[in-house]
Protein backbone atom coordinates (compact mmCIF):
# COMPACT_ATOMS: atom_id res chain seq x y z
CA UNK A 1 0.00 0.00 0.00
CA UNK A 2 2.30 2.63 -1.37
CA UNK A 3 0.42 5.87 -0.90
CA UNK A 4 0.54 7.31 2.57
CA UNK A 5 -2.96 7.84 3.98
CA UNK A 6 -4.60 6.27 0.95
CA UNK A 7 -8.20 7.39 0.64
CA UNK A 8 -10.65 4.57 1.14
CA UNK A 9 -12.73 4.89 -2.00
CA UNK A 10 -14.53 2.08 -3.72
CA UNK A 11 -13.14 2.81 -7.17
CA UNK A 12 -11.55 -0.38 -8.41
CA UNK A 13 -8.42 1.09 -10.00
CA UNK A 14 -5.45 -1.21 -9.63
CA UNK A 15 -3.65 1.52 -7.68
CA UNK A 16 -6.23 1.60 -4.91
CA UNK A 17 -5.08 -0.79 -2.16
CA UNK A 18 -8.48 -0.85 -0.51
CA UNK A 19 -10.64 -1.44 -3.62
CA UNK A 20 -11.35 -5.14 -2.92
CA UNK A 21 -12.19 -4.40 0.69
CA UNK A 22 -14.46 -1.52 -0.25
CA UNK A 23 -16.20 -3.90 -2.64
CA UNK A 24 -17.61 -5.59 0.47
CA UNK A 25 -19.63 -2.45 0.91
CA UNK A 26 -20.93 -2.40 -2.66
CA UNK A 27 -21.99 -6.02 -2.29
CA UNK A 28 -23.93 -5.20 0.85
CA UNK A 29 -21.85 -7.36 3.20
CA UNK A 30 -20.50 -4.47 5.23
CA UNK A 31 -22.38 -1.24 5.77
CA UNK A 32 -19.49 1.17 6.28
CA UNK A 33 -16.08 -0.37 5.70
CA UNK A 34 -14.22 2.93 6.07
CA UNK A 35 -15.02 2.91 9.80
CA UNK A 36 -12.10 0.50 10.15
CA UNK A 37 -9.73 3.49 9.91
CA UNK A 38 -11.09 4.76 13.25
CA UNK A 39 -10.53 1.57 15.22
CA UNK A 40 -7.70 0.67 17.59
CA UNK A 41 -6.93 -2.98 18.35
CA UNK A 42 -4.46 -4.16 21.00
CA UNK A 43 -2.75 -7.51 20.30
CA UNK A 44 -1.15 -9.18 23.31
CA UNK A 45 1.39 -11.82 22.31
CA UNK A 46 3.05 -11.46 18.89
CA UNK A 47 3.71 -15.17 18.36
CA UNK A 48 2.29 -17.66 15.89
CA UNK A 49 -1.29 -16.37 16.18
CA UNK A 50 -0.75 -12.71 17.14
CA UNK A 51 1.71 -11.86 14.37
CA UNK A 52 -0.56 -13.30 11.68
CA UNK A 53 -3.60 -11.55 13.17
CA UNK A 54 -1.60 -8.28 13.13
CA UNK A 55 -0.73 -8.76 9.47
CA UNK A 56 -4.37 -9.46 8.53
CA UNK A 57 -5.61 -6.36 10.34
CA UNK A 58 -2.84 -4.29 8.76
CA UNK A 59 -3.84 -5.43 5.28
CA UNK A 60 -7.47 -4.68 6.14
CA UNK A 61 -6.47 -1.07 6.88
CA UNK A 62 -7.11 -1.01 10.63
CA UNK A 63 -6.56 2.46 12.16
CA UNK A 64 -4.13 1.58 14.91
CA UNK A 65 -2.47 -1.51 16.37
CA UNK A 66 -0.87 -1.79 19.81
CA UNK A 67 1.53 -4.73 19.98
CA UNK A 68 2.71 -6.36 23.24
CA UNK A 69 5.37 -9.04 23.70
CA UNK A 70 8.57 -9.47 25.74
CA UNK A 71 10.18 -12.06 23.53
CA UNK A 72 12.74 -12.04 20.74
CA UNK A 73 12.47 -13.66 17.31
CA UNK A 74 14.23 -17.06 17.26
CA UNK A 75 15.12 -19.52 14.54
CA UNK A 76 12.80 -21.99 16.27
CA UNK A 77 9.92 -19.67 15.26
CA UNK A 78 10.58 -20.15 11.54
CA UNK A 79 8.09 -23.02 11.21
CA UNK A 80 5.45 -20.35 11.74
CA UNK A 81 4.38 -17.53 9.47
CA UNK A 82 5.29 -13.84 9.44
CA UNK A 83 8.78 -13.49 10.95
CA UNK A 84 11.84 -13.71 8.68
CA UNK A 85 15.21 -15.36 9.33
CA UNK A 86 16.96 -11.96 9.08
CA UNK A 87 14.84 -10.76 12.02
CA UNK A 88 16.27 -13.32 14.44
CA UNK A 89 17.44 -11.53 17.58
CA UNK A 90 15.09 -8.53 17.17
CA UNK A 91 12.26 -8.12 19.67
CA UNK A 92 9.05 -9.54 18.21
CA UNK A 93 7.33 -6.18 18.58
CA UNK A 94 10.05 -4.26 16.70
CA UNK A 95 10.29 -6.90 13.98
CA UNK A 96 6.50 -6.77 13.60
CA UNK A 97 6.49 -2.97 13.30
CA UNK A 98 9.23 -3.21 10.65
CA UNK A 99 7.24 -5.64 8.50
CA UNK A 100 3.79 -4.17 9.10
CA UNK A 101 4.80 -0.59 8.32
CA UNK A 102 6.20 -1.82 5.00
CA UNK A 103 2.96 -3.61 4.19
CA UNK A 104 0.71 -0.66 5.04
CA UNK A 105 2.16 2.68 6.15
CA UNK A 106 -1.36 4.00 6.87
CA UNK A 107 -1.63 1.97 10.10
CA UNK A 108 -0.52 3.62 13.33
CA UNK A 109 1.70 1.05 15.07
CA UNK A 110 2.74 1.13 18.72
CA UNK A 111 5.13 -1.43 20.11
CA UNK A 112 5.42 -2.41 23.79
CA UNK A 113 8.26 -4.74 24.72
CA UNK A 114 7.20 -5.85 28.19
CA UNK A 115 5.90 -8.76 30.26
CA UNK A 116 2.30 -7.95 31.25
CA UNK A 117 2.31 -10.45 34.14
CA UNK A 118 4.81 -8.46 36.22
CA UNK A 119 3.63 -5.59 38.40
CA UNK A 120 5.46 -2.93 36.34
CA UNK A 121 4.51 -4.46 32.99
CA UNK A 122 0.87 -4.57 34.04
CA UNK A 123 0.82 -0.86 34.96
CA UNK A 124 2.22 0.09 31.54
CA UNK A 125 -0.23 -2.28 29.84
CA UNK A 126 -3.20 -0.69 31.66
CA UNK A 127 -2.15 2.91 30.98
CA UNK A 128 -1.47 2.19 27.29
CA UNK A 129 -5.01 0.77 26.93
CA UNK A 130 -6.44 3.87 28.61
CA UNK A 131 -4.54 6.34 26.40
CA UNK A 132 -7.14 8.06 24.20
CA UNK A 133 -4.83 10.20 22.06
CA UNK A 134 -5.77 8.35 18.83
CA UNK A 135 -9.50 8.84 19.29
CA UNK A 136 -10.16 11.43 22.03
CA UNK A 137 -13.94 11.15 21.66
CA UNK A 138 -14.14 7.41 22.39
CA UNK A 139 -16.47 6.55 25.25
CA UNK A 140 -14.57 3.70 26.84
CA UNK A 141 -10.84 3.09 26.88
CA UNK A 142 -8.44 4.13 24.13
CA UNK A 143 -8.87 0.84 22.25
CA UNK A 144 -11.91 -0.81 20.69
CA UNK A 145 -10.86 -4.40 21.19
CA UNK A 146 -8.10 -6.38 22.89
CA UNK A 147 -6.97 -9.63 21.26
CA UNK A 148 -5.24 -12.12 23.53
CA UNK A 149 -2.82 -14.21 21.48
CA UNK A 150 -0.64 -15.41 24.34
CA UNK A 151 0.37 -19.04 24.80
CA UNK A 152 -0.17 -19.57 28.51
CA UNK A 153 -2.84 -19.54 31.19
CA UNK A 154 -0.98 -17.05 33.41
CA UNK A 155 -0.90 -14.33 30.75
CA UNK A 156 -4.55 -14.94 29.80
CA UNK A 157 -5.54 -14.41 33.42
CA UNK A 158 -3.67 -11.09 33.34
CA UNK A 159 -5.45 -9.90 30.17
CA UNK A 160 -8.71 -10.95 31.85
CA UNK A 161 -7.82 -8.92 34.95
CA UNK A 162 -7.03 -5.79 32.93
CA UNK A 163 -10.15 -6.05 30.74
CA UNK A 164 -12.44 -6.69 33.72
CA UNK A 165 -11.03 -3.65 35.51
CA UNK A 166 -11.29 -1.44 32.40
CA UNK A 167 -14.67 -2.86 31.26
CA UNK A 168 -12.96 -3.66 27.97
CA UNK A 169 -14.36 -6.12 25.42
CA UNK A 170 -11.73 -8.65 24.36
CA UNK A 171 -11.25 -11.86 22.44
CA UNK A 172 -9.26 -14.84 23.58
CA UNK A 173 -7.49 -17.24 21.25
CA UNK A 174 -5.51 -20.38 21.84
CA UNK A 175 -3.86 -23.33 20.18
CA UNK A 176 -3.36 -26.54 22.16
CA UNK A 177 0.16 -27.67 23.07
CA UNK A 178 -0.15 -30.59 20.65
CA UNK A 179 -1.05 -28.11 17.85
CA UNK A 180 -4.12 -30.03 16.66
CA UNK A 181 -6.88 -27.94 18.22
CA UNK A 182 -7.64 -24.33 19.00
CA UNK A 183 -10.39 -21.88 19.86
CA UNK A 184 -11.49 -18.25 19.91
CA UNK A 185 -13.78 -16.68 22.51
CA UNK A 186 -15.50 -13.29 22.88
CA UNK A 187 -15.48 -11.85 26.39
CA UNK A 188 -17.72 -8.92 27.32
CA UNK A 189 -17.20 -8.02 31.00
CA UNK A 190 -20.40 -8.52 32.99
CA UNK A 191 -22.31 -9.99 30.04
CA UNK A 192 -20.40 -13.17 29.18
CA UNK A 193 -18.34 -15.45 31.38
CA UNK A 194 -14.93 -13.94 32.09
CA UNK A 195 -11.78 -16.07 31.82
CA UNK A 196 -11.80 -16.70 35.57
CA UNK A 197 -15.57 -17.49 35.78
CA UNK A 198 -15.07 -21.10 34.76
CA UNK A 199 -11.91 -23.19 34.56
CA UNK A 200 -10.24 -22.76 31.15
CA UNK A 201 -11.69 -24.78 28.30
CA UNK A 202 -9.95 -26.74 25.60
CA UNK A 203 -11.19 -28.45 22.49
CA UNK A 204 -10.68 -32.18 22.83
CA UNK A 205 -8.25 -33.52 20.25
CA UNK A 206 -10.52 -36.48 19.64
CA UNK A 207 -7.73 -38.95 20.36
CA UNK A 208 -7.14 -40.77 23.61
CA UNK A 209 -5.26 -38.19 25.68
CA UNK A 210 -3.46 -40.95 27.57
CA UNK A 211 -1.71 -42.02 24.37
CA UNK A 212 -0.15 -38.57 23.99
CA UNK A 213 3.56 -38.55 24.76
CA UNK A 214 4.28 -35.34 26.63
CA UNK A 215 7.69 -36.25 27.95
CA UNK A 216 10.54 -34.50 26.24
CA UNK A 217 8.86 -31.38 24.89
CA UNK A 218 6.73 -28.53 26.17
CA UNK A 219 4.82 -27.70 23.05
CA UNK A 220 4.49 -28.45 19.36
CA UNK A 221 3.35 -25.92 16.77
CA UNK A 222 1.98 -25.97 13.24
CA UNK A 223 1.71 -22.89 10.99
CA UNK A 224 -1.59 -24.24 9.66
CA UNK A 225 -3.40 -24.48 13.00
CA UNK A 226 -2.03 -21.12 14.09
CA UNK A 227 -2.97 -19.49 10.79
CA UNK A 228 -6.50 -20.92 10.95
CA UNK A 229 -7.01 -19.71 14.52
CA UNK A 230 -5.62 -16.27 13.58
CA UNK A 231 -8.05 -16.20 10.64
CA UNK A 232 -11.02 -17.13 12.84
CA UNK A 233 -9.96 -14.51 15.37
CA UNK A 234 -9.62 -11.67 12.87
CA UNK A 235 -12.83 -12.69 11.08
CA UNK A 236 -14.66 -12.39 14.39
CA UNK A 237 -12.88 -9.08 15.02
CA UNK A 238 -14.01 -7.62 11.68
CA UNK A 239 -17.58 -8.78 12.28
CA UNK A 240 -17.54 -7.26 15.74
CA UNK A 241 -16.00 -3.91 14.72
CA UNK A 242 -17.81 -3.45 11.39
CA UNK A 243 -21.07 -4.90 12.64
CA UNK A 244 -21.87 -7.66 10.16
CA UNK A 245 -22.79 -11.32 10.46
CA UNK A 246 -22.86 -13.17 13.76
CA UNK A 247 -20.06 -12.58 16.20
CA UNK A 248 -19.11 -15.95 17.72
CA UNK A 249 -19.03 -16.19 21.50
CA UNK A 250 -16.95 -19.38 21.51
CA UNK A 251 -15.75 -21.24 18.46
CA UNK A 252 -13.58 -24.32 18.77
CA UNK A 253 -11.47 -26.01 16.09
CA UNK A 254 -10.52 -29.68 16.17
CA UNK A 255 -8.00 -30.20 13.37
CA UNK A 256 -8.03 -34.02 13.46
CA UNK A 257 -11.79 -34.31 13.00
CA UNK A 258 -12.47 -30.95 11.31
CA UNK A 259 -15.03 -30.29 13.98
CA UNK A 260 -16.04 -26.75 15.06
CA UNK A 261 -17.99 -26.75 18.35
CA UNK A 262 -19.69 -23.51 19.43
CA UNK A 263 -21.31 -22.35 22.66
CA UNK A 264 -22.02 -19.40 24.93
CA UNK A 265 -21.24 -18.94 28.58
CA UNK A 266 -23.02 -16.76 31.12
CA UNK A 267 -20.94 -15.18 33.89
CA UNK A 268 -20.46 -17.12 37.12
CA UNK A 269 -22.37 -15.26 39.84
CA UNK A 270 -19.72 -16.45 42.29
CA UNK A 271 -16.69 -15.58 40.18
CA UNK A 272 -13.49 -15.28 42.21
CA UNK A 273 -12.52 -12.14 40.27
CA UNK A 274 -13.79 -9.03 42.09
CA UNK A 275 -13.77 -6.82 38.99
CA UNK A 276 -15.89 -9.41 37.14
CA UNK A 277 -18.46 -9.29 39.96
CA UNK A 278 -18.57 -5.46 39.68
CA UNK A 279 -19.16 -5.65 35.92
CA UNK A 280 -21.92 -8.27 36.45
CA UNK A 281 -23.72 -5.91 38.83
CA UNK A 282 -23.48 -3.02 36.36
CA UNK A 283 -24.77 -5.24 33.56
CA UNK A 284 -27.88 -6.17 35.52
CA UNK A 285 -28.51 -2.54 36.48
CA UNK A 286 -28.27 -1.45 32.84
CA UNK A 287 -30.92 -3.91 31.65
CA UNK A 288 -33.79 -1.36 31.23
CA UNK A 289 -31.75 0.97 29.01
CA UNK A 290 -30.42 -2.02 27.05
CA UNK A 291 -33.97 -3.23 26.43
CA UNK A 292 -35.05 0.21 25.28
CA UNK A 293 -32.13 0.45 22.87
CA UNK A 294 -32.83 -3.04 21.51
CA UNK A 295 -36.47 -2.13 20.92
CA UNK A 296 -35.55 1.11 19.16
CA UNK A 297 -33.13 -0.79 16.92
CA UNK A 298 -35.74 -3.41 16.12
CA UNK A 299 -38.23 -0.71 15.14
CA UNK A 300 -35.63 0.98 12.95
CA UNK A 301 -34.66 -2.33 11.34
CA UNK A 302 -38.27 -3.21 10.55
CA UNK A 303 -38.65 0.19 8.85
CA UNK A 304 -35.60 -0.54 6.71
CA UNK A 305 -36.90 -4.03 5.99
CA UNK A 306 -40.16 -2.57 4.67
CA UNK A 307 -38.32 -0.20 2.40
CA UNK A 308 -35.86 -2.79 1.08
CA UNK A 309 -37.55 -6.16 1.44
CA UNK A 310 -34.80 -7.95 -0.51
CA UNK A 311 -32.18 -7.28 2.18
CA UNK A 312 -34.29 -8.67 4.96
CA UNK A 313 -33.54 -12.25 3.97
CA UNK A 314 -31.33 -13.26 6.79
CA UNK A 315 -32.26 -16.77 7.74
CA UNK A 316 -28.98 -17.41 9.54
CA UNK A 317 -29.17 -14.35 11.69
CA UNK A 318 -29.16 -15.39 15.34
CA UNK A 319 -29.77 -12.40 17.56
CA UNK A 320 -27.77 -11.73 20.66
CA UNK A 321 -29.15 -13.75 23.56
CA UNK A 322 -32.12 -11.99 25.06
CA UNK A 323 -32.69 -12.44 28.76
CA UNK A 324 -36.38 -13.02 28.07
CA UNK A 325 -35.82 -15.77 25.54
CA UNK A 326 -33.31 -18.10 27.10
CA UNK A 327 -34.18 -21.03 24.87
CA UNK A 328 -33.20 -19.48 21.56
CA UNK A 329 -29.50 -20.04 21.89
CA UNK A 330 -28.05 -22.84 23.94
CA UNK A 331 -26.12 -21.28 26.75
CA UNK A 332 -24.20 -23.31 29.22
CA UNK A 333 -23.08 -23.06 32.77
CA UNK A 334 -19.91 -24.55 34.11
CA UNK A 335 -21.51 -27.94 34.73
CA UNK A 336 -22.48 -28.99 31.22
CA UNK A 337 -20.21 -28.59 28.23
CA UNK A 338 -21.05 -29.32 24.60
CA UNK A 339 -19.51 -32.38 22.96
CA UNK A 340 -15.85 -31.87 22.11
CA UNK A 341 -15.07 -29.20 24.71
CA UNK A 342 -13.62 -29.91 28.11
CA UNK A 343 -12.09 -28.16 31.09
CA UNK A 344 -8.33 -27.85 31.10
CA UNK A 345 -8.03 -27.13 34.84
CA UNK A 346 -10.25 -27.89 37.83
CA UNK A 347 -11.92 -25.16 39.92
CA UNK A 348 -10.57 -24.29 43.34
CA UNK A 349 -11.76 -26.68 46.03
CA UNK A 350 -13.94 -25.60 48.90
CA UNK A 351 -11.71 -26.10 51.90
CA UNK A 352 -13.96 -26.25 54.96
CA UNK A 353 -13.74 -30.01 55.35
CA UNK A 354 -10.07 -30.32 54.50
CA UNK A 355 -7.72 -31.56 57.20
CA UNK A 356 -5.12 -28.77 57.11
CA UNK A 357 -1.67 -29.58 58.44
CA UNK A 358 -0.95 -28.11 61.83
CA UNK A 359 -0.54 -24.35 61.62
CA UNK A 360 3.06 -23.29 62.04
CA UNK A 361 4.06 -22.59 65.55
CA UNK A 362 5.97 -19.57 64.26
CA UNK A 363 5.04 -16.84 66.73
CA UNK A 364 6.68 -14.04 64.74
CA UNK A 365 4.24 -11.79 62.92
CA UNK A 366 6.43 -8.93 61.73
CA UNK A 367 7.43 -8.96 58.08
CA UNK A 368 10.92 -7.62 58.72
CA UNK A 369 11.55 -10.22 61.45
CA UNK A 370 10.33 -13.02 59.21
CA UNK A 371 12.63 -11.81 56.43
CA UNK A 372 15.56 -11.87 58.86
CA UNK A 373 14.63 -15.36 60.02
CA UNK A 374 14.67 -16.67 56.44
CA UNK A 375 17.94 -14.81 55.73
CA UNK A 376 19.50 -16.48 58.77
CA UNK A 377 18.44 -19.90 57.50
CA UNK A 378 19.78 -19.01 54.05
CA UNK A 379 23.13 -17.93 55.50
CA UNK A 380 24.30 -21.39 56.48
Amino acid sequence: MASVEAEMTDNSKASNPYSRLMALQRMGIVHNYEKIREYSVAIVGIGGVGSVAAEMLTRCGIGRLLLYDYDKVELANMNRMFFLPNQVGMTKTDAAVQTLSNINPDVVLESFTLNITTVDGFETFMSSLKNKSFNPNSEGTGVDLVLSCVDNYEARMVVNQACNELNQVWMESGVSENAVSGHIQLLIPGETACFACVPPLVVASGIDERTLKRDGVCAASLPTTMGIVAGLLVQNTLKYLLNFGDVSRYLGYNALKDFFPTMEMKPNTQCSNAACMERQKEYILAKPSRDAAAKAKMDADSLVAEEFPIHSENEWNISVVDDDEPDKVSTITSGSLPVGIMHELPSADKFESDPAPAETSNPIDDLEDLRKQLDALNAD
Binding site: D71, T118, R214, L370, L374, L377, N378
Partner: protein
Protein backbone atom coordinates in the same frame (compact mmCIF):
# COMPACT_ATOMS: atom_id res chain seq x y z
CA UNK B 1 -2.57 -36.30 44.20
CA UNK B 2 -2.39 -38.80 41.39
CA UNK B 3 0.91 -38.72 39.51
CA UNK B 4 3.18 -37.62 42.37
CA UNK B 5 5.90 -39.65 44.02
CA UNK B 6 5.45 -40.52 47.71
CA UNK B 7 8.35 -38.31 48.90
CA UNK B 8 6.96 -35.19 47.21
CA UNK B 9 3.55 -36.01 48.65
CA UNK B 10 4.71 -36.41 52.21
CA UNK B 11 6.95 -33.32 52.03
CA UNK B 12 4.10 -31.26 50.65
CA UNK B 13 1.76 -32.13 53.47
CA UNK B 14 4.25 -30.78 56.01
CA UNK B 15 4.48 -27.31 54.45
CA UNK B 16 2.02 -24.96 56.15
CA UNK B 17 -0.91 -23.93 53.95
CA UNK B 18 -1.66 -20.25 53.31
CA UNK B 19 -5.03 -18.64 53.91
CA UNK B 20 -4.95 -15.12 52.49
CA UNK B 21 -5.91 -14.68 48.86
CA UNK B 22 -3.97 -11.57 47.85
CA UNK B 23 -1.63 -10.57 45.04
CA UNK B 24 1.04 -7.88 44.72
CA UNK B 25 -1.52 -5.19 43.78
CA UNK B 26 -3.59 -5.73 46.92
CA UNK B 27 -1.72 -3.43 49.31
CA UNK B 28 -2.03 -4.34 52.99
CA UNK B 29 -3.52 -7.79 52.38
CA UNK B 30 -0.49 -8.59 50.19
CA UNK B 31 1.71 -7.81 53.19
CA UNK B 32 -0.35 -10.32 55.19
CA UNK B 33 0.05 -12.89 52.44
CA UNK B 34 3.79 -12.17 52.27
CA UNK B 35 4.10 -13.02 55.98
CA UNK B 36 2.42 -16.37 55.31
CA UNK B 37 4.81 -16.94 52.40
CA UNK B 38 7.80 -16.34 54.69
CA UNK B 39 6.43 -18.66 57.38
CA UNK B 40 5.92 -21.46 54.85
CA UNK B 41 9.40 -20.95 53.37
CA UNK B 42 10.99 -20.90 56.82
CA UNK B 43 9.27 -24.17 57.78
CA UNK B 44 10.13 -25.80 54.47
CA UNK B 45 13.80 -24.75 54.58
CA UNK B 46 14.15 -25.86 58.21
CA UNK B 47 12.56 -29.19 57.38
CA UNK B 48 14.89 -29.73 54.38
CA UNK B 49 17.95 -29.02 56.50
CA UNK B 50 16.78 -31.37 59.22
CA UNK B 51 16.17 -34.15 56.69
CA UNK B 52 19.55 -33.58 55.06
CA UNK B 53 17.76 -32.55 51.89
CA UNK B 54 18.68 -28.87 51.68
CA UNK B 55 18.34 -27.92 48.01
CA UNK B 56 17.56 -24.22 47.50
CA UNK B 57 18.06 -20.68 48.76
CA UNK B 58 15.47 -18.03 47.91
CA UNK B 59 14.89 -14.50 49.13
CA UNK B 60 12.93 -11.44 48.05
CA UNK B 61 14.92 -9.21 45.72
CA UNK B 62 12.80 -6.11 46.35
CA UNK B 63 11.01 -4.68 49.42
CA UNK B 64 7.56 -5.36 47.87
CA UNK B 65 8.35 -9.09 47.68
CA UNK B 66 7.31 -9.27 44.02
CA UNK B 67 10.65 -10.50 42.68
CA UNK B 68 12.61 -13.41 44.19
CA UNK B 69 16.13 -14.60 43.46
CA UNK B 70 18.36 -17.35 44.79
CA UNK B 71 19.92 -20.68 43.94
CA UNK B 72 18.93 -24.31 43.70
CA UNK B 73 21.09 -27.38 43.36
CA UNK B 74 20.88 -31.06 42.58
CA UNK B 75 23.29 -33.88 43.37
CA UNK B 76 23.87 -36.40 40.59
CA UNK B 77 26.55 -39.13 40.78
CA UNK B 78 27.89 -37.52 43.96
CA UNK B 79 28.48 -34.19 42.19
CA UNK B 80 26.59 -31.04 43.03
CA UNK B 81 25.13 -28.97 40.19
CA UNK B 82 24.02 -25.48 41.18
CA UNK B 83 21.87 -23.00 39.24
CA UNK B 84 20.55 -19.47 39.65
CA UNK B 85 16.83 -19.39 40.39
CA UNK B 86 14.53 -16.39 39.86
CA UNK B 87 10.86 -15.55 39.40
CA UNK B 88 8.32 -12.74 39.60
CA UNK B 89 5.06 -12.90 41.51
CA UNK B 90 2.44 -12.41 38.76
CA UNK B 91 -0.26 -9.74 39.17
CA UNK B 92 -2.92 -12.47 39.19
CA UNK B 93 -1.17 -14.44 41.99
CA UNK B 94 -2.21 -16.69 43.71
CA UNK B 95 -4.80 -17.63 41.05
CA UNK B 96 -1.78 -18.31 38.83
CA UNK B 97 1.50 -19.79 40.03
CA UNK B 98 4.85 -18.00 39.70
CA UNK B 99 6.80 -19.06 36.62
CA UNK B 100 10.10 -20.42 37.94
CA UNK B 101 13.17 -19.53 35.89
CA UNK B 102 16.62 -21.12 35.67
CA UNK B 103 18.26 -18.62 33.29
CA UNK B 104 21.55 -20.56 32.99
CA UNK B 105 19.71 -23.51 31.43
CA UNK B 106 17.83 -21.40 28.86
CA UNK B 107 18.06 -23.08 25.47
CA UNK B 108 19.62 -26.27 26.84
CA UNK B 109 16.49 -28.37 27.19
CA UNK B 110 13.15 -28.76 25.47
CA UNK B 111 11.49 -28.93 28.87
CA UNK B 112 11.74 -25.20 29.19
CA UNK B 113 9.98 -22.18 27.76
CA UNK B 114 11.95 -19.22 26.40
CA UNK B 115 13.68 -17.16 29.06
CA UNK B 116 14.52 -20.25 31.08
CA UNK B 117 11.04 -20.83 32.51
CA UNK B 118 10.71 -24.46 33.50
CA UNK B 119 8.01 -26.54 31.83
CA UNK B 120 5.85 -27.98 34.59
CA UNK B 121 4.26 -31.40 34.45
CA UNK B 122 0.65 -31.87 33.46
CA UNK B 123 -0.04 -32.54 37.14
CA UNK B 124 1.18 -29.20 38.53
CA UNK B 125 -1.29 -26.62 37.20
CA UNK B 126 -4.44 -28.63 38.03
CA UNK B 127 -3.23 -29.16 41.60
CA UNK B 128 -2.30 -25.49 41.96
CA UNK B 129 -5.73 -24.42 40.60
CA UNK B 130 -7.55 -26.76 42.98
CA UNK B 131 -5.64 -25.46 45.97
CA UNK B 132 -5.83 -21.71 45.36
CA UNK B 133 -5.13 -19.77 47.62
CA UNK B 134 -3.56 -22.35 49.94
CA UNK B 135 -0.39 -23.00 47.94
CA UNK B 136 2.44 -20.47 47.95
CA UNK B 137 6.06 -20.11 46.87
CA UNK B 138 7.23 -23.02 49.04
CA UNK B 139 4.63 -25.32 47.47
CA UNK B 140 5.61 -24.19 43.96
CA UNK B 141 9.24 -25.09 44.70
CA UNK B 142 8.29 -28.45 46.20
CA UNK B 143 5.80 -29.46 43.49
CA UNK B 144 7.30 -27.67 40.52
CA UNK B 145 11.04 -27.21 40.78
CA UNK B 146 12.10 -30.26 42.82
CA UNK B 147 10.55 -32.87 40.46
CA UNK B 148 11.83 -30.89 37.44
CA UNK B 149 15.43 -30.94 38.69
CA UNK B 150 15.17 -34.64 39.54
CA UNK B 151 13.94 -35.46 36.03
CA UNK B 152 16.03 -33.08 33.93
CA UNK B 153 19.45 -32.64 35.57
CA UNK B 154 20.54 -36.30 35.17
CA UNK B 155 19.55 -36.12 31.48
CA UNK B 156 21.36 -32.80 30.97
CA UNK B 157 24.49 -34.07 32.70
CA UNK B 158 24.55 -37.43 30.94
CA UNK B 159 24.08 -35.79 27.55
CA UNK B 160 26.90 -33.34 28.27
CA UNK B 161 24.67 -30.24 28.05
CA UNK B 162 25.49 -29.41 31.66
CA UNK B 163 29.04 -29.80 32.95
CA UNK B 164 30.16 -29.86 36.54
CA UNK B 165 31.95 -26.65 37.50
CA UNK B 166 35.24 -28.49 38.15
CA UNK B 167 35.11 -30.05 34.66
CA UNK B 168 34.22 -26.73 33.10
CA UNK B 169 37.21 -25.06 34.77
CA UNK B 170 39.76 -27.57 33.54
CA UNK B 171 38.05 -27.70 30.12
CA UNK B 172 39.95 -30.82 29.15
CA UNK B 173 38.17 -33.03 26.68
CA UNK B 174 38.18 -36.67 27.72
Amino acid sequence: MEGWDPTTKSTLTQIPLLTIKAGPRDGATWTQRLKEEYKALITYTTMNKKNDNDWFRISAANPEGTRWTGKCWYVHNLLKYEFDLQFDIPVTYPATAPELELPQLDGKTEKMYRGGKICLTVHFKPLWAKNCPRFGIAHALCLGLAPWLAAEIPVLVDSGMVKHKDDAASSVEV
